[in-house]
């Protein structure tokens, strides 16, 4: 079985055992709590949060994100190999928590204080340039800045007008009255800063004129709040001093943050631990609780059930009971895939599409070989394949990644090996051609040593195309075989024999007709088989219609499905297209490098240019070919293959377990 068997259980017990039970379950991660419900007035136990006092996960996460820009990475390689996660075991974990938890409040509040200081200082610093600009433009004021320049008999405005309107305004004011004084205090690219003084008696008329020329009064007390009684030049000096001051403050705060960033490792451990506590707290929502007891339902991995029951019996001397429950009729269990070591690596492909439902089989083991073959033919380059395999192998050997990541890496390793095989078959060696690398060429065949097919010459393309389509035919027929098995299993006999088997017969007959006598079947024989298949389909495909007249009509329409199968089959020609694309684009990159290097005036320069072009070009080709090979090998599974037998749509088994955001906890 490649689906892990799950059993529904109910656990009932006295509240005093709750904490230890949940601790154990959380660590082992063998069960998924069934749906949450909040029915009870009672709670199971108090929140565990008080363990940390006021330090909660949100504050820890805040401190982490605050410190992140300031950390000095000590070992880039370690970080790289562990995927940025902290690797430690359970004992080290509780040790660190015990040491750090009392200090956490201090570290986190220090972070909060620093953040506050930094934000304030940065905001203030950001507001300085505007003030400085204003002070510069007021340099002609020759007096201190004050709230009000009015006297008993005069009114004064300070403000700015667009530079373009300065002379017009001056003319207009001169025409209005000779009792108006306008002095320009300063100018920048767009505006002139002016002071206008006049008699109170004519002030309203002057104000109207000013508005006409887009005069904008400046409230000095608002803009330069702290500088009442300073002259503009004093303000400038003060602002410059203040800026230096703020820069100092920011630098000091950043230094302190840098110093605090040594705690990041502990903060991460703490945050993870807190998240675990939270998930345990949230588990309470899944409990039925009475005054003294608790009970909950869950899906447990069947294989782990016996050990779990035994442990419960031992640990709680019968005061916690585990009961197996029967499934209700329409109940859909969650799904967990559980394949062997090799096939496990292909599970993400199935998961990408969707998980198998209650009665469906897990298709992973069936898609794995086809995926590899298609991938190998699509990438089809020994060099690229070796590169992929080496990178994957490097991380597998030297990396300390989680089990899931290692499983994905193994998939890359297999894919790399498949691409090497594909490359040998099609002669893909970094896009080289035989004339560019004569030392590697077999003098008898004119091919690379170890190359089996030349896909770009003679009958090569057709051979490659036939190979692709043949693989496709096998893939499709295999999918239909799986559909047949599935239908028999779910007792859908008419579907199995009248639809799936009938179509397989028809398609094989058409195949024999197309291949003709090369497979030892005479034309007449093949034709008869085709006719038999067609008649069979016409009889069976209309059977769901009630009306007897419509039955044959729908039977004939059913035959039209042949086009769907044809387009499915043709879809596999993409293997050939992608396989050729890798080689030819690689070849083009090499060629470009050669052409450019020959254009260079000096051979050393030429070699340099060639190396750059080759590196860049092949990285690009490698990346895009890899992407294409992956996506299209996947697509052939999802649409052509799964379309025949697989629906998916089950809920994923999400165990009540420790999340692994920052840590990789290794036991022994």
């Amino acid at each position: 079985m490649s689906k892990v068997a799950l059993q529904k259980i109910r656990v009932t017990g006295f509240k005093r055992h709750y904490k230890i039970l949940m601790q154990e379950l959380h660590q082992s991660g063998i069960l998924q709590l069934s749906e949450a419900h909040n029915l009870s007035q009672y709670t199971v136990s108090k929140s565990h949060d008080d363990y940390y006092g006021s330090v909660n996960v949100a504050r820890t996460e805040f401190a982490l994100s605050f410190l992140a820009p300031y950390q000095t990475v000590t070992s880039k390689l370690d970080n790289f190999l562990s995927g940025g996660k902290i690797v430690l075991n359970n004992a080290q974990l509780s040790e660190r928590i015990k040491i750090f938890a009392p200090e956490a409040e201090k570290v986190i509040s220090a972070c909060e204080k620093l953040e506050d200081q930094l934000v304030r200082a940065r905001n203030e610093k950001a507001s300085l340039p505007k003030k400085l600009e204003l002070a510069k433009n007021l340099k002609g004021l020759h007096s201190t800045v004050q709230a009000n320049f009015n006297t008993e008999t005069t009114t004064t405005w300070i403000g700015k007008i667009p530079l373009s309107e300065k002379s017009e305004l001056m003319g207009a004011l001169a025409a209005e009255s000779n009792l108006i004084d306008l002095s320009v205090l300063g100018e920048n690219r767009l505006h002139a800063y002016v002071r206008v003084t006049t008699l109170k008696s004519i002030a309203p008329a002057v104000n109207t004129k000013l508005q006409l020329f887009d005069f904008e009064a400046i409230d000095l007390m608002n803009e330069l709040e702290a500088f009442d009684g300073y002259t503009p030049s004093q303000i400038k000096a003060e602002l410059t001093k203040l800026e230096k001051d703020l820069e100092m403050q920011i630098a000091t705060a950043e230094m302190e943050a840098k110093a605090l960033s040594v705690h990041m490792r502990d903060l991460k451990i703490l945050a993870e631990h807190q998240a675990w506590q939270n998930s345990k707290n949230e588990a309470q929502a899944h409990m039925f609780v009475s005054e003294k007891t608790f009970s909950f339902e869950a899906w447990v991995i069947t294989d782990a059930l016996d050990d779990f029951s035994a442990w419960v019996k031992n640990a709680f001397v019968g005061e916690v009971v585990v009961d197996s429950m029967a499934l209700e009729k329409d109940e859909l269990p969650p799904t967990k895939l559980g394949n062997n070591f090799v096939v496990k690596s292909f599970e993400p492909i199935t998961e990408m599409y969707g998980l198998p439902r209650k009665l469906e089989m897990d298709p992973t083991i069936w898609l794995a070989p086809f995926f590899l073959i298609f991938f190998g033919l699509c990438l089809s380059d020994v060099g690229y394949g070796a590169l992929l395999a080496l990178v994957a192998a490097f991380f597998l050997v030297f990396g300390k990644l989680s089990r899931g990541a290692n499983s994905s890496l193994r998939l890359l390793l297999y894919c790399g090996i498949a691409a090497i095989v594909g490359g040998v078959l099609l002669g893909g060696y970094f896009g080289l051609t035989t004339s560019q690398f004569p030392a590697m060429v077999d003098p008898d065949t004119g091919r690379f040593y170890g190359q089996i097919l030349t896909p770009t010459e003679g009958t090569g393309p057709i051979t490659f195309l036939i190979l692709s389509l043949a693989l496709g035919a096998i893939h499709l027929l295999f999918g239909m075989l799986l559909a047949f098995v599935q239908q028999i299993k779910s007792k859908d006999y008419s579907g199995a024999f009248l639809d799936t088997a009938m179509w397989v017969f028809m398609l094989v007959a058409i195949g024999l007709y197309a291949l003709g006598e090369s497979v030892g079947v005479s034309k007449v024989m093949a034709t008869n088989l085709c006719i038999a298949g067609a008649i069979g389909l016409v009889i069976t495909q209309g059977r769901s219609q009630k009306n007897w007249l419509l039955k044959p009509l729908f039977g004939i329409l059913g035959l039209y499905n042949i086009t769907a199968y044809l387009s499915d089959l043709l879809s596999y020609s993409r293997i050939m297209a992608l396989g050729l694309a890798t080689g030819v684009v690689g070849f083009a990159m090499n060629l470009t490098a050669v052409i450019f290097s020959e254009m260079m005036p000096h051979p050393v320069l030429g070699i340099l240019i060639a190396v750059i072009i080759v590196l860049f070009g092949h990285s690009l080709n490698f990346g895009l070919s890899l992407l294409g090979a992956f996506i299209h090998s996947g697509r052939l599974q999802f649409i052509e293959f799964f379309g025949k037998f697989y629906e998916s749509g089950a809920e994923r088994f999400t165990p009540f377990a420790r999340a692994a955001k920052y840590l990789t906890v290794q036991d022994k």
């Binding site: 057709i462 195309l465 879809s571 050939m576 297209a577 030819v584 083009a588 299209h632 996947g634």
Partner: protein, 153 residues
């Protein structure tokens, strides 16, 4: 001879020109949507990039056909010789690849953009969004298939 060479060169130009245009439009459409999405949630960058690059393959197919044409007519080695029939074939190959590449890249970009827009709300469906976009590529692959056969046979 000169006529055949002209047809071949136009064929190569159409192939990479149109298919490249299709890829550019497609990636542009998907990329514009993508910037908005991963701006909101930077964790989605990988998935957005993957989907954004999907319409990139048409341009590569176009390049592939163009290079095969140039190679076959000898433009890469220096001695150009094309028969009249080969010229026609290369022209047809360029049209087949160019047009299918143009339109499938263009519309694949739209489908990819729609998928990208849904990513923040349904990240777990990313595999299906990719599959949906890849369906559009089928016709560029058919175009490529015919073009390859025309050029190489």
């Amino acid at each position: 001879m000169e006529y055949a060479v002209m047809m071949s060169v136009i064929g190569a130009g159409l192939s990479i020109g149109l298919a490249g245009a299709g890829s550019s439009i497609g990636i542009g459409t998907a990329g514009t949507k993508g910037a908005g999405v991963f701006g909101e949630n930077p964790n989605l960058f990988g998935k957005v990039l993957l989907m954004m690059l999907l319409p990139g393959s048409q341009g590569i197919y176009g390049l592939l056909i163009a290079i095969l044409i140039l190679n076959n007519m000898g433009a890469l080695t220096g001695e150009i010789s094309v028969t009249a029939i080969d010229g026609m074939k290369y022209f047809g190959a360029g049209i087949a690849m160019g047009l299918t590449g143009l339109f499938s890249g263009w519309f694949q970009g739209k489908v990819a953009a729609a998928g990208i827009a849904m990513l923040p709300r349904a990240e777990e469906l990313s595999g299906k969004f990719i599959t949906q976009a890849v369906v559009v590529e089928t016709y560029a692959i058919f175009g490529l298939l015919i073009a390859v056969l025309l050029v190489l046979l």
